[in-house]
Amino acid sequence: MNGYGGSILRVNLSDGSIHRHATEENLARLFLGGRGLNVKRLWDEVPAHTDGLSPENKLIFGVGPLVGTLFPGGARFNVTAMSPQTGILGDSNAGGFFGPECKFAGYDQIIIEDRAEHPVYLWIRGAEAELRDARDLWGRDVWETTEAILEELGDRDIQVAAIGQGAENGVRFAGVFANLVRAAARTGMGTVMASKNLKAVAVRGTQLVPVADIARFTEMIERLDEIIYNHAEYDIRVRLGTTKLITALNKIGGIATRHFQTGQFEYADQVSGEAIEAQYKIKSKACFACTIPCSRFLVVNDPRFPDLRLEGPEYEPLAGFTSRIGNGDLALGLKCIDMANRYGLDAIALSECIAWAMECYQRGILSREEADGLDLTWGNGETILTLIEKIAQRQGFGDLLADGVKKAAEHIGRGSEELAMHGKGLEVFQADPRSIKAYALGNAVASRGADHLRSEPWFEFSEDPEEGIRRYGIPETAFRLEYKGKGLVVKHFEEMAAIADATGVCKNTYNNMEVLNWEETAELLNAATGWELSGEDVRRIGERIVNLERAFIAREGITRADDILPRRFLKESLGPPTSPSAGAVVELDTMLDEYYRARGWDVETGLPTRAKLEELGLSDAAEKLAERSIANEKENPAQ
């Protein structure tokens, strides 16, 4: 099967059985792979309302047809399961080298079922796979675990995806970490892995992936490299990666500061990507085959944190452990990121939990006694480090926060629920949605809970009204503070994000830099697979994935009422008064109307219509929703 590893590996941890079968080409044509094929599998095999931590949940690793190819950054693997954090679709992905190695071992998907009696790790060596004892590894962090496995197996070309103590201890927002720092962090996929007693997956592959037309593929990649090297953002992305956003978002007044109480951080210059570059950057690092080495290896020379070396970070953890929690100490922020990586925790959720606690303390909702005597003043380094430890170990006050901000706020009550910055139970990212309306909408409707990576609609930063007219017929789409047309923008970028995640490429290049259009994506996929997809076919695959995910969360009870943002973003105007985003709020309802209409979903309920599902070849999903009286029988309003 051209462009694919060709096999699916199915591992039952309870009886230790390991089976493989051929990748189903009919499914690959409908969902490609990665996130697409994963959600299809989860929809088919995991019943509604399955508890994320029960043995009935399945943990699915998947890679797409562009993974392990010449595509710059065709590196990503998806991990999908029912989320123990949100109770809906759990799905997260990461780059590095683990994804390509799975493909070279011959696998497009690895399905983990049931639960092992004691801790094990899965060792996949091409066609051979075995479960190995991991009792000695339990209790060790991501770095120690990875090193111990490489040592035990005696080959540093092996790629390891592991969990840390956070997941073992049942922190609900623990991730799966490959290459030490490549985090599939969101929605608690590491927590699911720990509940199955699976400490790590180690993989080595020496196969060749067949390609339908290598000459055409190579030629297209040469062209793509030129587009990338000549891209206006190339230099700054290589220098700073996504940490460039500290300066950029601070300038527009949209950086999450002290838990979104304001949009500008007075210490932004001290904690910026530029500051990291000047003080700690040793060299640029990259994911598999990427010509935009946007990651960085850092050596942090600070006597308070001996031997602090790490790769990265991205903007999200950096802003999370600086501006969001009111910390202007860069080395401390990097130490927090390193701790999150080693314990194996989602930095967005972790920083939100700390920031939420600090705001509750500021407002007198939370007393010092309730927080184990910690002084929760903004930016208090000692408190921050202690809290990370406590959360990872689920000790004392940390035990409360370890369930995520939604559950923590429900427990504390006293109005703290309104301050919990989450959507559908998933913590909001590090940009203020009030300053960027398409991102606000994207967060509200994202299928895994509040998240920017389900859409990444960068276009609203473009300030190019003519392009706005060309694309969406609406000039306002090109401006971040405007509302008109954002439903169309989010729909478009959701489909792009779905294709990026289903093919296994990076959204920095595919969504934010827009290096390929639908037709070029089709051409590249055709060169890899030998299929004859049109650009519209590819877009429709993206639309199909988005719709199946919507059906999935509809089955869990999600409707329009859940597509909301925290009150602060809707009601409180964004400060400071001097910033270019001053006074902004999010008027969500009109954007939602426009979005559901563009999607062909029911505007009142936000549910996918039978007509739309059938149009996309998802009749089965329409049937299953109807059985639960969820399906919406109304006419498709788009037709």
Partner: protein, 159 residues
């Protein structure tokens, strides 16, 4: 004479060179059959592109019991006579740099052929960590660096 030289100080560790090498020589995607190999030690951020040194007196050729390997004096590369190769891996064992490997499907030695003068690994390298240049360039740069204490594009002294 031109050679493939490497600068580990600027290698991002992406392994685009490996997959480009395999795509050219095998027409498929993979890394295990690459004639270039990046050694990565993640915890310390070490990424080292290893290349065939195109030795003047190649140990791999000397080791071959069937004379399946020979040095092409015009192109200055080692070549393989597939029909004569018995797959014994003596060449693998004798290369002082560990840069001869056997193809996982054919068991034939993988040796660098410089892509007939236009190496794809060099073309694909985004950071300048793999360069195709005159032998001695990096040594010259290092001498310059040591002499002046200044900055060199080719990395620090002793690098």
């Amino acid at each position: 004479m031109k050679r493939i030289l490497t600068r580990k100080e600027v290698c991002s560790g992406c392994r685009a060179c490996e997959v480009a090498c395999v795509a050219r020589h095998d027409g498929r995607f993979g890394t295990a059959m690459a004639r270039i190999k990046v050694t990565k030690i993640e915890p310390v951020g070490l990424d080292v592109p290893n290349v065939c040194r195109l030795c003047q007196r190649p140990a791999c050729v000397a080791a071959c019991p069937t004379e399946a390997l020979y040095r092409d004096e015009i192109m200055s590369v080692v070549r393989v006579k597939a029909m004569d190769c018995i797959g014994c891996s003596a060449c693998v064992d004798e290369c002082p740099f560990g840069m001869v490997m056997l193809h996982p499907e054919t068991d034939l030695p993988l040796v660098c052929d410089l892509c007939d003068g236009d190496p794809v690994c060099v073309k694909r390298c985004a950071t300048g960590a793999i360069i195709y240049t005159d032998k001695g360039v990096i040594a010259r740069e290092k001498r310059h660096y040591c002499a002046t204490g200044g900055k060199s594009d080719y990395g620090g002294a002793g690098a």
